[in-house]
Symmetry: C2
């Protein structure tokens, strides 16, 4: 049997057990279960290379697994195969404070890295909410609340070690701050969702912990005034570290979830990083804009525990909203538009959701023009599910019409495959050509991101693209 | 004759004239002349696509041309072919101040764009010195003096229109601030040096013009104290907009070139951007570091004309040094290392240059760990040229040994081809596979960046890689 050699190689770090396979065939989003045939837990790059070489020889799909927090089925196994769980490759290999970088294995989570960095005065800024693995965050080009200030994984991965589809190991980038020596392979693998190679080591840019941090929460009478505040703030050049929008439905869900007493109107959550005087200056300028736009008084959170409570609440928005609708079939959306079109995009979306009568709280990283409606149709009412899917499609079309993108940060996986042609046109064919060049057998995470069937497999993707 | 169809298409915007071809077969660096067989001046993307389709049909090389300021022979024609001069595609198509972006044709130069932006309060920050075309800057992933603050072209190109090797036109990226929809084709084309496609439109990120700008010049007793000042400044988190090193030999050349009277010791040139109080704070913090490291008093340049004079001098470093050695055969170098290894890299380099007795002033964008020695052996003394080449090779080896890269910003072209395998190993093969996938006929800028021969051509590259 083709998998036996892997059992021999890895011993107890190889499993075909039903429960392990099922666990690695599920995600936080409601895709149907798509389990792999086996799960492996490598500990070294060389083991990963051996696994991939073996799978290439036998035309077995290989799917990387971080923490399973993808919302677009990135790590599910629609064609079966071997799931490579990186949780045992979880070492911080090197921290170089003088170069403001860290070298880590892919299974290190962002919280584990930041815990390890605490004493150095540095931190890793990218924060998608979930305590995801850094390998997974790189593979999906994650971003989150702080991207408005520090950029996405695109800007924060300096170099990679990657196992290619034939088991060769390459290093991309260098430890120098910049380079112009050829194609930017680092950027090519960041966001490639495990379809071009498996990331086995990352060199990450770090940031200095700001001297002062202030966060705050502010209520607005309506969605328009909150969104206009965001736009005015970005355009004024205030270097926000975070600026998040939550709508009234979200506030209601938060209040229920965490027994809070926030006014049930749209809110902005913000954070400023800098010197004590710089932060005061930023907060004052922002306060002026808020007042001009009709926003209410700020609740400031200066102590670390108050800030943590604030951002924990924000990060739990997804869970709070789901808890408020326990029988829902959740459909996440993730559009991103130019800032100048943000008000239009949010308002049209909110209006259509209201008209459809489907629960759909809106929240997002609006400083990047990125927002989510979490559509929550009742799972027992197919007509409501159909309405929600139509709303999600119209959001994607709206993003493209306004010059934006169908995914700001959640990625393609299987969930957004159906929009790739509309967004990229012939560019999607170029992605397919790159995929075919680097993975001619199509063994790396088949069924995701590109339009490609596995060579030697007569089986089409077993679920229709775009169907959550 | 294969080229006649292009003459019919373009009329007077097609030339096979010897002088035009010679002009497009030379660069500012001393590579031998490698003229194309014809030069074309398209005015639209559709014309570029027609040219490429025609060349693909007849297996004719196609080489893009911006302003000819490459130092690594990017735009020379070692296999002949058609040079596509973008100087007539020089329109700023759209400026969107609210989204802080501009859409431009590739022939727009950075100075022309900034002139057009002046009234908007925005500017495009990337400044490689030469008034290069933005298409050329994207194609070579240019950077320069401001990258320490604003990043290289990698960070500042948001979207592209590209004509592929078969004449298809694709759009990469979007106008939204971020995206996670598939492979980062924008990053793949930025820095691809015309070997994967011809850039016909760019969407560029803009920055707000800082409220206050202060620049200054400071003398140091020796190279070590200047470099240590740079390292301490970066590590202290002062957000420098520019921090440039020039050595004593450069100062001598500047003094001769511009009739100046600077002390003939190593100097740093710096610039701060921010609010008036922010700039004062930054300058004061920097001044403390300088004093600690034994640097001299600052000469500040606050008025725009004084600052412009300062940066003009810096940008003319190459010409000043060449003027000081009129009979030289100049060999440029461009290594980039982690900041923690910068002192070591600069000092070893300076020591070896002194030992070799070849003129070799050092200057660079040291805030990025990037510096250049401009080696100036006498063109009539082959043994001196050989020594200079050996110095350049050892610099490249040093960069790799210290975890850096053989080119921080000048790129590969033909000049650095000989180092690609050492820097990238199997990663260079991956670049070759991407090249073969997107340009299977090998017509796009053959002889550059990747190890590849033109399909259907028995002719090897006519100049040895690595030979300037």
């Amino acid at each position: 049997m083709a998998l036996d050699a892997l059992r021999e190689l890895l011993g107890p770090r190889f499993s075909t057990g039903a429960s392990e396979c099922a666990l690695h065939g599920r995600s936080e989003a409601h895709f149907p279960e798509m389990p792999p045939d086996a799960v492996v837990w490598p500990e070294t790059t060389e083991e990963v290379a051996q696994i991939v070489r073996h799978c290439a020889r036998h035309r077995i799909p290989v799917i990387g697994w971080g923490t399973g927090t993808s919302l677009e089925a990135h790590a599910l196994a629609p064609h079966g195969g071997v799931c490579v769980d990186f949780s045992r490759m979880d070492k911080v290999l090197r921290v170089a404070p003088e170069d403001m970088l860290a070298v880590v294995q892919p299974g290190v989570t962002r919280e584990a890295l930041n815990a390890e960095l605490r004493a150095t005065g540095l931190f890793f800024p990218v924060d998608p909410g979930a305590n995801a693995s850094l390998g997974g965050m790189a593979a999906t080009r994650a971003s989150g609340t702080t991207a408005v200030r520090y950029g996405t994984m695109r800007a924060n991965v300096l170099a990679l070690e990657v196992v290619l589809a034939d088991g060769r190991v390459i290093r991309t980038g260098s430890q120098a701050p910049k380079s112009s020596t050829g194609y930017d392979l680092t950027a090519l693998f960041v966001g490639s969702e495990g379809t071009l190679g498996l990331i086995t080591e990352l060199t990450l840019r770090l940031q200095g912990q700001p001297e002062a941090v202030t966060a705050g929460l502010c209520a607005f009478p309506d969605m328009a005034s909150a969104v206009e505040t965001v736009i005015a703030t970005i355009q004024s050049g205030i270097p926000m570290a975070r600026i998040e929008f939550i709508d009234a439905a979200n506030v209601r869900a938060f209040n229920a979830w965490a027994k809070g007493d926030m006014a049930e109107t749209p809110h902005l959550m913000v954070e400023f990083h800098g010197s004590p005087s710089g932060v005061r200056e930023q907060a004052a300028s922002f306060g002026e804009i808020v007042a001009e736009m009709g926003g209410g008084a700020f609740q400031w959170a200066e102590r670390a525990e108050d800030r943590n409570r604030l951002w924990k609440m924000r990060h739990e928005g997804y869970y709070a909203a789901r808890a408020a609708h326990p029988n829902a079939f959740p459909i996440t959306t993730d559009i991103c538009v130019p800032i100048s079109r943000l008000a239009e995009a949010v308002e049209e979306t909110a209006r259509e959701i209201a008209e459809a009568g489907v629960p759909g709280p809106i929240l997002g990283h609006v400083g990047d023009g990125n927002f989510h409606a979490l559509l929550l149709p009742d799972r027992d009412r197919p007509e409501e599910i159909a309405k929600a899917k139509a709303l999600a499609s119209r959001m994607a079309e709206r993003a493209l019409r306004l010059g934006g993108t169908v995914s700001g940060e959640h990625g393609i996986g299987m969930g957004k495959l159906g929009y790739m042609e509309a967004e990229h046109g012939a560019g999607w064919e170029v992605m397919g050509a790159v995929k075919a060049a680097l993975d001619p057998l199509g063994i790396l995470n088949p069924g995701k991101l590109v339009r490609q069937q596995m060579a030697g497999s007569a089986q089409p993707p077993s679920r229709a693209p775009g169907a959550p």
